[in-house]
Subunit: 338 residues, 2 copies
Amino acid sequence: MSFSQLGQSTIKFTTPPSVISYAAVVGKKEGEGPFGKNFDRIESDAYFGQKTWEAAESALFKETVTTALEKATLRTDEISFLASGDLLNQCTATGYAARGLAIPFLGLYGACSTMAESLFIASLLASNGSTAVAATSSHFCGSEKQFRFPLEYGSQRPPSSQWTVTGSGSVVLSGHGKGPYITHATVGKVIDAGVCDANNMGCAMAPAFCDTLARHLSATGSKPGDYDLILSGDLGHLGKKVASDLLKQEYHINIDSVYDDCGCMIFDSNKQDVHSGGSGCGCSASMLAGYILPEMQKLHLHRVLFIATGALMSPTLSLQGESIPSVAHAIEFNVQAQ
Amino acid sequence: MSFSQLGQSTIKFTTPPSVISYAAVVGKKEGEGPFGKNFDRIESDAYFGQKTWEAAESALFKETVTTALEKATLRTDEISFLASGDLLNQCTATGYAARGLAIPFLGLYGACSTMAESLFIASLLASNGSTAVAATSSHFCGSEKQFRFPLEYGSQRPPSSQWTVTGSGSVVLSGHGKGPYITHATVGKVIDAGVCDANNMGCAMAPAFCDTLARHLSATGSKPGDYDLILSGDLGHLGKKVASDLLKQEYHINIDSVYDDCGCMIFDSNKQDVHSGGSGCGCSASMLAGYILPEMQKLHLHRVLFIATGALMSPTLSLQGESIPSVAHAIEFNVQAQ
């Protein structure tokens, strides 16, 4: 057994997988934000040397994975599994990048929750002694084109909208190594609060975040104060407020003293025009790999609950009048393999 | 430890997960094929009581999962994980179905390889004692609309094209139970042979099938004759021939005496106008859950190597001139937990 089950979908790893390397690569706008100095590389060319937004994101993704491997002096043939996904249809950013990496590939789709999902799958493998990479990416231009309108249309974005991060984060997990470790995880249920506005993803995702958080705390017997940081993926400013309020009202849980959101952190909302904050798989992935994990390695953070949130929004189903279901998965990082 | 690693991405389960239930639901055309009597239900309404193809597939998927649970008298709250995916953008068939199932959800995208991927992930969980469902679906009308042309256009299909199966299969895995068991698995690499024709998926996928098969045989020390059946997902008639030839020429492996393909099996190519055979995640999933697993339970088949194959084809990237990368994952079923 590599884990014991604490709740319906909460697990405690018997041999917690170790984070042995990580890397984050982002675009120019993300590099100009408050965490610009934390990322491994900031690329000023939004095309990443390619001719299309899809190929650009694929290049970005591949660079992030290879950077994480280089930092750990690992070759691709020493990696057993790459668990990853992105927001593009058919997950092309990761699938096409995997073609050039020659690492056995598990493609995932969890919208912006994918970084937590990929960490969960990679943890299952690493807790058995395999070396596995969890990684995701997103690109503002490709996402806007696919989910809303091509940038050339010059569409107005409402205040509730979030800015899809151009960025990627990758984390290498191993069964053998020092901390930080992944000690627990909770897989989320698909929750639909009835939000139909594709420009208000934060509100659509907040209920999934609350459900997963409440189930994780209950199953592990933890309190919010036990964590140095509870981090949602990319609820943004509006969604973060909704999540905080909903937790108090419906679950009687107050996380405000330890709570932050990657979508609120990555851009400076006073100086950068991103409306309700950042979003996209690459948002939580690059913040995790660029800032959170290094802070844990320096022992500035000891126990972090990372809950990436995903809106399973489909432009096709939105046009059919459907609401936006969401999902959130929780990954608990500890500097000690407790 | 719940598994030991035999090769780069080949694993042997220490406590092999047990197949405790399965179900397959298909459309009218699939019901008229040679395996019509094997499926749990044949639905003559292509809309499955819904108003759109996307909602139809979601209803089909949900019915297959609930049928498998009913057959094992399991409630949804007794299931810890649903690992699943489909071909629709944002995997909406499964994501929207999961909304109504309240089972913690891991969304996957591996194109037509998804059934093997979902079995792999569910096996990792079940081998630790969890109860997990692996399931996928596909729908001819939704797939044609999304990947090629809406049916209303009346497009001609070339002889190399395959017919996306309207069908779904689900398999419930547990850490405790009788056989058949999943004893070994190999996760595939993304292989691109340079095929650019979106109407020739079989040829695009055959090299990925060969690579995964060769790596699985090598890592497990098995020969083709050790299996009662080696089953590819949906290479179709053309792809099956290419795979067989390629294995002989490049790998010096002859599997012809034990080899078949779900895409060749599901339709009667003499009577049903499907050109190169069936395809889609629902093809291998419904053949596995409708025919293969029941045959194993009756001990008519003892050891089966199921290799679902997926073309990670994107209409967007095809228009950009890109070729079609593919992936294939191998799942080894045994009636004994050897």
